[in-house]
C-alpha cells in the first residue's frame, strides 16, 4: 500500500469505521448505564431532580474554592489540558470542516496561531500530569496500563497535529495520515476506556445534582 492509498483509506473507510465504533460504543455505554437503574427513593421530593441535575452539569465545570484543598497543580493542569484540547479540537478551521461534513453544522474558527497555543498548552499539561504521576508514589501505584494508554492516545493527535501544521519531520501526506489515524484510534478507544468520561461525566454530574435536588439541598 502506497502512502497515497493509505491516506485515501484513512480518510474514507478508516474514518467511517472509527466513527461507527465510537457511536456504537457510546450508545452501548450510555444505555447500559441507564438500565442499571436507580433505587426507588421513598422519601417525599423536596425539589426538582432535573433542574438541579442540569445545573450541576454546568456549574461543576467551573472553579470553586473547595477544589483547591489538595493544592493547585491538579486544578491548573486539568483546566489547561481540557481547555487546550477542546479548543484545538473544536475551533480549528480544518476540524470544523470535518464536523461540517458529518453534521452539516459549522461555527466560526479561531486563528491558527491561537490553535497552536492551545495545542501546546494541552501537550504541556499532559506532560506535566505524566511527570506528576511518576513523581507521586501513591498516584504511581494506582496507575495501570490503561492510564498510560489513555494518556498516549490523547497526546498523539495533539502532537501529530502540531507537526502537521508546521510540516515538521515528514511530508504533509504522511503527517496528515498519521494525524488522522491518531484521531481514529482515540475515537475507537473513548467508549471502551476511562476516556468514556467525555460522556459519562455528564451522567454522573446529573445524578449527583439530581440526588441533591430531590432532597432539596445544594449539590
Amino acid at each position: 500500500m502506497t502512502s497515497v492509498e493509505l491516506l485515501i483509506w484513512v480518510r474514507g473507510p478508516g474514518l467511517q469505521l472509527s466513527l461507527a465504533a465510537f457511536i456504537l460504543g457510546m450508545t452501548y455505554r450510555i444505555l447500559q448505564t441507564y438500565f442499571l437503574g436507580r433505587a426507588k427513593n421513598l422519601a417525599e421530593p423536596r425539589g426538582s431532580e432535573w433542574v438541579h441535575g442540569i445545573k450541576t452539569i454546568w456549574w461543576r465545570s467551573f472553579f470553586h474554592p473547595g477544589m483547591t484543598v489538595r493544592g493547585y497543580f491538579t486544578i491548573i493542569s486539568g483546566y489547561m489540558f481540557h481547555l487546550g484540547f477542546i479548543v484545538t479540537l473544536l475551533f480549528f478551521d480544518q476540524h470544523i470542516e470535518l464536523f461540517k461534513s458529518w453534521t452539516g453544522l459549522s461555527w466560526p474558527a479561531l486563528p491558527p496561531i491561537v490553535i497552536t497555543v492551545t495545542a501546546v498548552l494541552g501537550i504541556a499539561a499532559l506532560v506535566a500530569v505524566l511527570v506528576d504521576r511518576f513523581a507521586d508514589p501513591v498516584r504511581y501505584l494506582l496507575s495501570d496500563y490503561q492510564d498510560y494508554l489513555c494518556w498516549t492516545l490523547t497526546v498523539l493527535p495533539l502532537v501529530t497535529g502540531l507537526l502537521l501544521a508546521y510540516k515538521i519531520w515528514l511530508p504533509y501526506t504522511s503527517l496528515l495520515t498519521v494525524h488522522i489515524i491518531s484521531f481514529e484510534l482515540l475515537l475507537v478507544a473513548i467508549p471502551f476506556t476511562k476516556l468514556s468520561h467525555v460522556f459519562t461525566i455528564f451522567i454522573a454530574r446529573w445524578y449527583n445534582g439530581a440526588i441533591a435536588g430531590y432532597r432539596g439541598v445544594q449539590s
Partner: protein, 365 residues
C-alpha cells in the same frame, strides 16, 4: 527531408543564431530545473547530442496529454524539442493512418532498436485479455509489450499512463493498469498530471537528450526536479492559509481577496507537481491563480480520493448509513446488557436469604 543529426545543425537549418542556441540552452537548463551554472555543460552536451527517435503510443486516454504538449504557441521550447526529437509514430500527430501508420512504427522500431524512447499516454486494459482497447486489431497490452522490447526508456505521460488515471478509477471496468505495472525491465519515468504540464514533458525529454539518461525520480517514479515540492509549498496563497483566511464560496469576499482555497477543496497540500512554478499557457496562470483549488491530478488514485470540492480534512464518502447502523447496534447491545444485568440482580434478590439471630448464634457456638 533530411533530418539533421544534432541540435546545433537543426537550429542552424532553422536559421537560429548562436545566441539563439545559447538562449535555448539556458531555457532547457531552467526547464530541467537545473542551476544556471549548468548551462555551459548543457550547451556542450546538446551540441553533440544525437537526435533520438520517439515512438508515442496512445492507449486508454482522452488525448488531453497530446493536446497539452501541442497547445503551445511557437516558437516555444516545446516545439523546439519536438522538432529536435524524431517523433516517428504518434496516432494523432502523424499524417499516415491505417496500415501505413503501423508500418511506420515497425520501421522506427527496427531502425532504432534498443535506442528509442517510448512515450505512452493512457492506461492499458488487461481484463479479459485486454480486449477493451485495440489498435489495428492489436490489443494495447500486446502493442506495449512488443514496442517496449526495443526501447531504451519509457516515459509514461499523463496520470492514466503513470497511475491508471480515469480508466483505473473505481470500479475500473476494463482492468486498466499503468505502464509501471507492466514494464519492469526498462527505466520508466512517470510524468503525471491530467494533463501533464507541457514544459514538464519536454523537460524530461530534454534531460534524456542532454544527459542520455532519465532524471532522478521520486518514490512514484516522477522526476524530482518537477515533482519534488508540493503545490501548497509553492502556492502564493499560502500566507492566507497560514493565517486561517479562506474563501468559503467561489464568489465571496474571501474569493475576491484571493484567500486560500482549502475549504473549497484544494488538494494542493498533498499534490506534487510544478503548476505553481511552471504554470500553464505559456506561464500565464495555474488553477489556483484562476480561483479554483488544485484537484490533485498528478497524484495516484486522484479520482477516488473524494470530491474535488470536499476539503482535504473532511472524510471521503458519507457516514450517515453507517452511523445509523452503529446507533441501532449500540442501542441493541446496550439494552441487552442492561436487561441482563437487571435479570441477574433480580435473581440475586430472589436468592437472597436473610440471616436470623438464631443462625448467627449457631455459627458462634
Amino acid at each position: 527531408m533530411v533530418k539533421p543529426a544534432s541540435l546545433a545543425e537543426h537550429l542552424e537549418c532553422h536559421q537560429v543564431s548562436r545566441r539563439g542556441f545559447l538562449k535555448f540552452c539556458a531555457l532547457t537548463t531552467s526547464m530541467m530545473a537545473l542551476s544556471p551554472s549548468m548551462m555551459p555543460a548543457v550547451a556542450r552536451a546538446l551540441e553533440k547530442a544525437r537526435r533520438p527517435s520517439v515512438i508515442w503510443l496512445s492507449f486508454q486516454e482522452c488525448t488531453g496529454c497530446t493536446e497539452s504538449l501541442t497547445r503551445s504557441h511557437s516558437p516555444t521550447i516545446e516545439n523546439l524539442i519536438l522538432n529536435y526529437l524524431s517523433l516517428d509514430y504518434h496516432h494523432t500527430l502523424q499524417a499516415a493512418s491505417g496500415d501505413a501508420a503501423e508500418r511506420a512504427r515497425e520501421a522506427a522500431m527496427s531502425e532504432n532498436y534498443g535506442q528509442y524512447i517510448l512515450a505512452v499516454d493512457g492506461s492499458i486494459p488487461v481484463k479479459d485479455g485486454g480486449v477493451y482497447s485495440t489498435i489495428a486489431g492489436v490489443s494495447n497490452l500486446e502493442m506495449l509489450q512488443h514496442t517496449v522490447a526495443g526501447a531504451a526508456a519509457v516515459v509514461a505521460i499523463g496520470s492514466c499512463a503513470a497511475f491508471g488515471g480515469l480508466p483505473h478509477a473505481h470500479p475500473n471496468p476494463t482492468g486498466a493498469v499503468p505502464v509501471q505495472e507492466l514494464v519492469h525491465d526498462k527505466p520508466v519515468v512517470n510524468v503525471s498530471g491530467c494533463p501533464p504540464i507541457p514544459v514538464v514533458i519536454s523537460g524530461v525529454l530534454a534531460h534524456y537528450l542532454t544527459f542520455g539518461r532519465i532524471p532522478d525520480l521520486d518514490s512514484y517514479g516522477r522526476p524530482l526536479s518537477f515533482f519534488g515540492a508540493s503545490i501548497h509549498d509553492r502556492c502564493y496563497r499560502r500566507p492566507y492559509y497560514n493565517k486561517g483566511l479562506f474563501a468559503e464560496t467561489f464568489d465571496d469576499e474571501g474569493a475576491k481577496n484571493g484567500w486560500c482555497l482549502f475549504k473549497l477543496g484544494c488538494k494542493g497540500p498533498t499534490t506534487y507537481n510544478a503548476c505553481a512554478t511552471a504554470k500553464w499557457n505559456q506561464g500565464t496562470s495555474f488553477p489556483i491563480q484562476s480561483g479554483h483549488g488544485c484537484i490533485g491530478c498528478s497524484e495516484p488514485h486522484f479520482w477516488d480520493a473524494g470530491g474535488f470540492y470536499q476539503p482535504l480534512s473532511a472524510g471521503i464518502g458519507s457516514v450517515g448509513t453507517l452511523a445509523g447502523m452503529a446507533v441501532v447496534a449500540g442501542a441493541a447491545a446496550g439494552t441487552a446488557a442492561g436487561r441482563l444485568h437487571q435479570a441477574k440482580r433480580k435473581q440475586a434478590q430472589r436468592q437472597h436469604e436473610k440471616v436470623t439471630v438464631a443462625d448467627l448464634e449457631e455459627t458462634d457456638s
